[in-house]
Every structure is written in C-alpha cells, then in structure tokens.
C-alpha cells in the first residue's frame, strides 16, 4: 500500500503563494481560510542573510495526534495512501484536533467541521497530482509514494539534504523540505 508524502525543494521555491490560491479554488476553501500557507524565515545580519521559504500544510503524519485525540473517529488515516482525513459527517466540532496539531494545519470550517489539506485525494484518486503540486510555477514540489523506493519523492528524500517541521514533536511528518 502506498504512503503518500511530498518533497519540497526550498532552493527553488519563491513563496509566490500559487499553491495556496490553487488549493482555495480547487477545494472551494471559503474566503478567509486556507489549507496551506507560506512561511518565510530570515536569519543573520545584513548583508550576511539567509531566508528559508516553506510551503506548509498538513504533514499527513505517520503518528498523527489529531487522529489519536479525536473522540468520534472523524479524524482518521485513510486506507488509500495513509492520507489523514476528516469525515465531515462524524465531526462534532470539538476542536480537539485543531489544538493537538503542532503545525496549526487545521481550522474550523464555517459549516462546523474541522478542515485541512486532503492531499487532494479526489484528484490523486484520478491519477492527477494535488492542485498545489500541479500549479507550482517553480516545480519545487514532488508528490508520491514514500514506501516505493523507486518513486521520485523517495529518491529525492534519500538523495538530498532535507529537514522536516518540528521533528521533536514525534509526529513523523511526511513533508520533506530539500535544502
């Protein structure tokens, strides 16, 4: 079975937010909300500066606290690609998952359920890429099966220096940032 993840090349990313805009239209994310976002970190002193740009979203963790803490089973790991999803019908809007996510990846949809990135499972199911990956003008994102050592994403993670967000949280995030 597949285990989906992403490698994002921070040396190419320009933080243009196309990933955010594409996600919003693809998934009808309501005004005022987004499922992905850009973080820019600047370190050093002028002129010796360094900027790290990260396109961030749900990490679809191997060890997802949002699933463990969900009292109804609405938050679950889907059998397809081990994508972390929310069953809107089962969600009672208790916000435990929102609080549990160390990445701030979840928000309460105005319709009353917890919402977040789905890795565009409806597209992936049809053989398409997630909207953010497909739109990226810098082609900095690679999506695929981390359990397949031959996949491009696996080869990038194996071959390139990389980091993940909040490794100490013990969540096993599946978005890898290439340096």
């Amino acid at each position: 079975m597949a285990r989906f993840g992403m490698a994002i090349d921070t040396t190419k990313c320009v933080g243009c937010m196309d990933c955010i805009v594409a996600c919003k239209t693809e998934n009808d994310v309501p005004d005022g909300y987004c499922r992905d976002w850009i973080a820019k970190r600047v370190e050093g002193r002028m002129p010796d500066l360094r900027m790290t740009i990260t396109s961030e979203r749900c990490n679809h963790c191997d060890n997802p606290p949002c699933v463990t803490c969900c009292p109804t089973g609405a938050s679950h790991v889907h059998v397809y690609g081990k994508i972390v999803l929310v069953d809107h019908g089962k969600c009672i809007g208790c916000k435990a998952c929102v609080a549990s996510c160390p990445y701030g990846a979840r928000f309460m949809h105005p319709d009353g359920y917890a919402d977040k990135c789905t890795f565009c499972i409806h597209r992936v199911d049809k053989g398409q890429l997630p909207a953010c990956v497909e739109v990226c003008p810098t082609r900095c994102m690679t999506f695929g099966d981390l359990d397949d050592p031959q996949s491009e994403v696996s080869r990038l993670v194996a071959g390139r220096k990389h980091f993940v967000l909040k490794p100490d949280a013990g969540t096993g995030p599946r978005i890898f940032y290439l340096e």
């Binding site: 597949a2 090349d9 040396t11 190419k12 320009v14 933080g15 243009c16 937010m17 196309d18 955010i20 805009v21 594409a22 919003k24 239209t25 693809e26 998934n27 009808d28 005004d31 005022g32 909300y33 987004c34 600047v42 050093g44 002193r45 002028m46 002129p47 500066l49 360094r50 900027m51 740009i53 679950h76 889907h78 059998v79 397809y80 690609g81 999803l85 929310v86 069953d87 809107h88 789905t118 499972i121 409806h122 992936v124 199911d125 049809k126 053989g127 398409q128 890429l129 497909e134 739109v135 990226c136 003008p137 810098t138 082609r139 900095c140 695929g144 099966d145 397949d148 031959q150 996949s151």
Partner: protein, 729 residues
C-alpha cells in the same frame, strides 16, 4: 494505472487538464470522507488578463459556475502553470465591488456620486462632448490612456476620430528607459515578454529586479529552472529580496548607486581582459573611447558610492565573466527609479555586450511571431499637429508616447489644449507620480471617461464610467505573440457578465457609430472580425475556440542558429560610445551621479511587487485579497529598535511634502538597508467603491509627490521621495 492511456484519454477529451500521472499507484474508490468535486465540468480555453503577460489558460466551469482556472499545457508562456494571480482570476468575476452599469457623474468631480444610466444615454453624452471638443479644439485635443491588449479596439476608434495622442503609463512610468537604453546600444529593445533566455543562463545578474515576488510567469519559471540546473545568481538590491536569498553574491547597494556598480563591474572585466574580445572587435563601435572612461571607474571608487566592498565587486564581476556568454545581466522591467534610468539601462546593455550575451544562449534571444494580417480598415485621418506629449522633441530618445507629457500639456494648454481624456484599464491615480498634478489636469478637462471593471480611483474622478466585462466574459483582440516560441491565442467568453457590463470591442464599436465613424467598423460582430483575421493566417475561429492557441514554427533565435548579427544603430554596430548621445548633449558613456539625500531622519521610499497582486487592480479580488490582504512597510531592525517599533505595529509615513499615508503595518527586519523603507505597490485605496480595500495598507503612489524626469526619454524616476515614520495609536 496506465500512463499512456490516461494521456490519450485527455487528448481525446479535447483538453489536457495538465494531469501528470502517478505511475505505479493503484487508485481505490474513495469513501464518503473525501471532498471529491462532483458535478459537470466544462473546460474553456482562453488567455489571462490579470497582468499583461497573457498566459494561456483553461477556465473550468462546474455546474454553470466558474470553478477554477489552470494553465493550458500547450502554452509556451505558462507551460501549463499559471501564476497565483492567474490562478485566482475567478475572483475578478465574483468581486462584489465590481461596476455594474454605466454611470454619469451627479456632483462635483471626485465626489463619487453617480446616476445609473443606459449605455445609450452614456454614449450620447460622451459623443456629444467629443464632437464639441473636435469642433472647438480639433480631434487631437482628446487623449486615450490605455493599458493592455483590451484597449486595441478603443485605440482603433480614437485613431479614426483623429487623435495621435494615445499613451500608456507602461512607457514613461515603467519600462521606457530600459527599452531606450537598449535601443541606443544594440538598436533593439527588450519588449514584452522580455527576450531573456533565463532557462539557459549559467549566471543571472539581477539589479533591483525581484523575480519571484515580481511574478512574470515565464521569467519566474525559467529562473527556478536555471536554479535547479545550478546557475549562479548575483543580486544587487537595497533589500534582501526572495531572489537575493537564492544568490551566491548578494550586494546591498546604496539606493541610486547602481550605475557606479555597473561601471565598476565593467572596469574589472575590461582591465582584467575578461570580456568577449572577438564579439567586441567584430561588432563594437567606439570601444577604445569607452575603455578610456571605464578604466577610471575602479571598484575602490565604486565602494565609496555603493557601499559594496571592492573585493565583492571584483569577485562578482569575475563570476559573470567565467560563465559568459551564458551570463544574463537582466534588464529588469519597471525601470523608472531616479531619472538617470536610460543611462543605467545603457550600462546594463553595455555589460551584456562585454559578456557577449546578446544573441547567445543563456543571454538574449531573437523573438519571432506568426504572420496574422491585420483587418483591412480604411486609412485613419492624418493629424496636422503631431503628438502633444513631447513638444520640440524635448526628450529626443522617447520612442513611445509619454503619459506625463500629455498630463503636462493638459495643464498648460501647450503646445495645444487637451480637453478630453478617455482612460481604459489603467488607474492613473496609482500609476502616475504626483497625484496633485493629475487632479489639476483633470480639472482642465471638458470630458473624462473611464472604462474599468472596478470603481478605481481614476473612475472616481470621471464624468462617465463604463463598466467593462472581465476577461472571462468577453472576446478580445487576438494575441499574436512575439516570443521565442511564436503562437496566436484567443480570448473568449467563459461565462456571461453578471450585470450590464460590456466587452470593450462592443464599447469601442458602439462609440464609433455614435461618432459617425461606423465605416471604420465594417464587421458586424467580433466573431466575424476574429475569423477574418485568422483566415488570413490559414486558421479559423473554430480551431482557436477549441484549442485556445495555435503555435507557429519558431524562427532561429540565436546567432549560432543562423540569426544574422545586424545592429540597427547609427553606426551599424553595438555602440560602446554613442555619438548620437554626444551630439544631443548627453554622456556618450554612462556616468554615475550621486543622488540627492533626503532630510535628516528620513528614509528613501522604495516600492515593488507582490506575487499575488497586479498593480492597484486586484486588491478587491476576494481570492487574492485572502492571500495578501494588506501591504506592510519594511524597516531595518536597527531603525525599528531606535523608534521603538516592532513587527505588527501600525505607523503612518509622512513624506517631504507633508503628505501623510494611511496606517500601514510595520515589518521590522534585517532584510533591508537602514537608509530606506520598502512597500508593495497598489494598496491604500481611497476610492469609496472599493469597499474591501478602502484604507487598507498604504499607497506608495500617494507618497510619490516628487519625480526626476529622465532627460533622454521623459521617464519619471520615482524612487526620489523620502518619508519619516509616525506611530499610529
């Protein structure tokens, strides 16, 4: 899943949806949990209008409503990927602040109080005024300001009316000095899209140009591609931009000292004999005279001007030489900074000439276009008076119309009066420097008509406002692209306009009939016009409606592909030393002059672009507003500490002429020099109708009360304003 069969499926279905397949993954039926998009989807190819790049797109309509817009995979510009603005394009349709019907002013100009009228009433009013102006002052007394391809038909109507005064701020307020500088050197300009072969460059030099934040799609895509292939980047910018963060050499130049840096780079390359000697010998004119000047401009000299240590200048110059001719010193685009901009652009052109990058891979290519004949209209009436913008050729190297020259003539009445302005898709209040002068000119007019999608600031001053259908609701002129890979593309309606908005071709044609100029519109509707033009190229409207674009055969683009090196300059060569500049009383080789400093305690105001907004026209687009609702002002960390300001605090900026901005958030950062501040252009709206953007962030344009006019071509250098910072309580 079978990759090939999926590709074939997409091809058969008429439109590739840009699907890249995930070979080897076995899809499973989804449960009820996944928010799968249901419904019937119709895909319509068209081309984008959020900026002037004109990427080819596919609009997806789900159950009769616009759903999303993606790049057309066949498009050489977008390569199937739109930029964030294009991706958010449906927000221009759903924008609740859109103009709905024609409006005629009810009270004093600028009061923004209107009467809704019918199109017929609006045209009668406009035509009456235009005829009166023609009788009293001649047809030249009307000027058309028009930005983008959408203005093509209005230009036709006004040429038929008899005026030569047709301008866009994209010349004297943007790329004009750049193109003039390259024309003076190579005899050819840069154009749009820029003829830069970024994807093959081994070394990319950016001077103030902030690709990645400045989101010209093809440029950014090729920049990322070049980075992926290991290209070296050199960035000179007072601000640590996104592009600077990709650079091997980041040089935080003192604002306004770019020419000094360019001269010192050339000094190193010439004195160390690192330049392309074969190119210079074969194609150069006046190299010895140029060299005699350039040997004086040492890195030590430039250090005092730029603040960049001499060794950094030497190292970065050698880096450029190491990769030549695949070293691209990017000409930039928005080049109106200090009033010496044509000479700076000429210095950029000369540095490229030394590196031999013109006509070479990784440098500058020769674009080509398909042969799509124009419509055979009858000749336009000849104007006896010539253009009003540049009397006596005051600016001898202006090769397009100067918008601010028309404004000046409108105020002074010299060389002849201008009594009517027709403004299409350009918000002159944000585009021209010194708002007070623009308003003074407006007060001298008998008629101001604005055609726009939203109630922009300039619309607020109009006598008549005409609501235009958005690009997703209209046909437009064909885009016959002049590019590395030529093509012809169609813009076609995807959905109906929600109110009484009309396409510009219809507006231009109806107006022509009201003016008694119907013979200039022998075609009955736009489809007939487009089909006629396409037939001239052996194509049909049906094909374009289905595919969106048809590609031509690329012509040779580089010298090694067979392009002949011809230089349409007076000497017939690449002009290292310019006799035509010398004769006109200008420096034949660019020289650096120190910029004036601001009052003590003030900061030079710099401005730039954000990837999710175009000019001042997208701040009410609900999708793009969500991505970036307001701008902020960048302050160096030491300045923030001194003023007791932290990121997130709000301030107002007061300029040297006592103009006070609206409140703007502060970004305290190491990523800018302490002698300047920076903000993104286009915010701080003051038009009441732009409800969601009104008073949000601050407007750089409002603070740009001063400008330095480029004596060569009349461009308005706008980085010459200084602000102090006042905490907002």
């Amino acid at each position: 899943m079978n990759t090939i069969s999926r590709r074939r499926f997409l091809k058969i279905s008429g439109l590739g949806l840009g699907a890249a397949s995930l070979a080897g993954l076995s899809p499973r039926r989804l449960g009820a949990t996944a928010a799968a998009s249901a419904g019937t989807v119709r895909a319509v190819p068209t081309y984008c209008d959020i900026c002037f790049w004109k990427c080819n797109a596919i609009a997806h309509v789900r159950d009769g409503r616009l759903w999303k817009i993606t790049g057309n995979p066949e498009d050489p510009l977008s390569r199937g990927r739109l930029c964030p603005r294009g991706t958010g394009g449906i927000g221009t349709v759903t924008d609740p602040d859109r103009l709905q019907s024609p409006l005629i002013r009810r009270k004093a100009r600028g009061g923004e109080e209107w009467v809704e009228v019918t199109w017929d009433e609006a045209f009668d009013y406009i035509a009456g005024k235009l005829q009166k102006i023609k009788v009293e002052h001649g047809p030249e007394a009307v000027a058309l300001f028009s930005h983008g391809i959408g203005g093509a038909f209005l230009k036709h109507t006004f040429k038929a009316y008899g005026t030569p005064n047709i301008a866009a701020p994209s010349f004297a307020q943007c790329r004009g000095p750049r193109d003039a500088g390259f024309l003076l050197t190579f005899g050819e300009d840069i154009g749009s899209p820029e003829r830069t072969d970024i994807r093959n460059a081994r070394c990319i030099v950016l001077i103030g140009s902030h690709l990645g934040e400045n989101m010209h799609n093809t440029q950014v895509q090729e920049f990322a591609e070049a980075l992926g292939k290991g290209a070296t980047v050199i960035v000179a910018d007072p601000r640590f931009s996104v592009a600077a963060s990709k650079a091997k050499y980041y040089l935080p130049v003192k604002p306004g000292s770019d020419i000094a840096l360019l001269l010192a780079w050339m000094n190193v390359i010439v004195t160390e004999e690192l330049y392309d000697q074969a190119f210079v010998e074969q194609h150069g004119f006046g190299f010895e005279n140029f060299k005699a000047e350039i040997v004086e401009r040492t890195p030590e000299w430039a250090y005092l001007e730029t603040g960049i240590p001499p060794e950094k200048i030497r190292e970065s110059a050698r880096e450029m030489a190491r990769h030549r001719p695949a070293t691209l010193v990017h000409p930039g685009r928005h080049a109106t900074w200090y009033g010496d901009d044509t000479q700076r652009s000429r210095a950029i052109a000369l540095l490229n000439a030394l590196l031999g990058s013109w006509g070479r891979k990784g440098g500058f290519y020769y674009p080509s276009s398909m042969d799509v004949p124009g419509y055979p209209y009858q000749p336009y009436p000849k104007s006896g008076r010539g253009k009003v913008d540049n009397p006596g050729k005051k600016y001898p190297f202006a090769h397009e119309t100067i918008s601010t020259g028309i404004r000046e003539a409108t105020i002074s009445g010299q060389p002849y009066p201008v009594k009517g302005w027709f403004v299409y898709a350009t918000n002159l209040i944000h585009a021209l420097p010194n708002e007070a002068e623009t308003l003074k000119a407006i007060q001298a007019l008998d008629l101001l008509v604005v055609v726009d999608v939203i109630p922009s600031e300039i619309a607020g001053w109009a006598d008549v406002v005409l609501p235009e259908a958005t690009y997703l609701e209209r046909y437009d002129e064909l885009n016959v692209e002049y590019f590395r890979d030529p093509f012809v593309a169609l813009r076609q309606p995807v959905v109906e306009p929600p109110g009484d908005q009309k396409p510009n071709w219809w507006i231009a044609r109806e107006l022509a009939f009201k003016l008694g100029l119907g013979e200039y519109y022998p075609w009955q509707d736009i489809e007939e016009y487009l089909d006629y033009r396409l037939a001239g190229a052996g194509l049909s409207l049906g094909t374009l409606k289905e595919k969106g674009l048809v590609k031509g055969t690329p012509a040779p683009a580089f010298f090694d592909e067979g392009v002949e090196a011809l230089w349409p300059t007076p000497s017939g060569k690449v002009e290292f030393y310019s006799l035509q500049l010398e004769r006109a009383g200008f420096d034949p080789v660019p020289r650096h002059q120190r910029q004036k400093e601001g009052p003590p305690g003030s900061f030079r105001l710099l401005y730039g672009r954000a990837p999710v907004h175009s000019f001042s026209r997208t701040q009410t687009n609900p999708i793009l507003r969500d991505a970036m609702p307001e701008n902020d002002v960048w302050l160096n960390a030491s300045v923030g500490a001194r003023l007791g300001l932290r990121s997130g605090d709000y301030v107002r900026l007061r300029n040297q002429d006592d103009v006070l901005s609206s409140p703007i958030k502060v970004r305290v950062t190491e990523a800018i020099r302490p002698d300047c501040v920076y903000m993104v252009h286009g915010f701080g709206h003051t038009a009441k109708g732009l409800r969601s953007a009104f008073g949000v962030g601050a407007s750089d344009a409002q603070l740009i009360t001063r400008y330095e006019t480029d004596p060569l071509m009349g461009g308005t250098g706008m980085n010459v304003n200084f602000v102090s910072i006042e905490r907002e309580n």
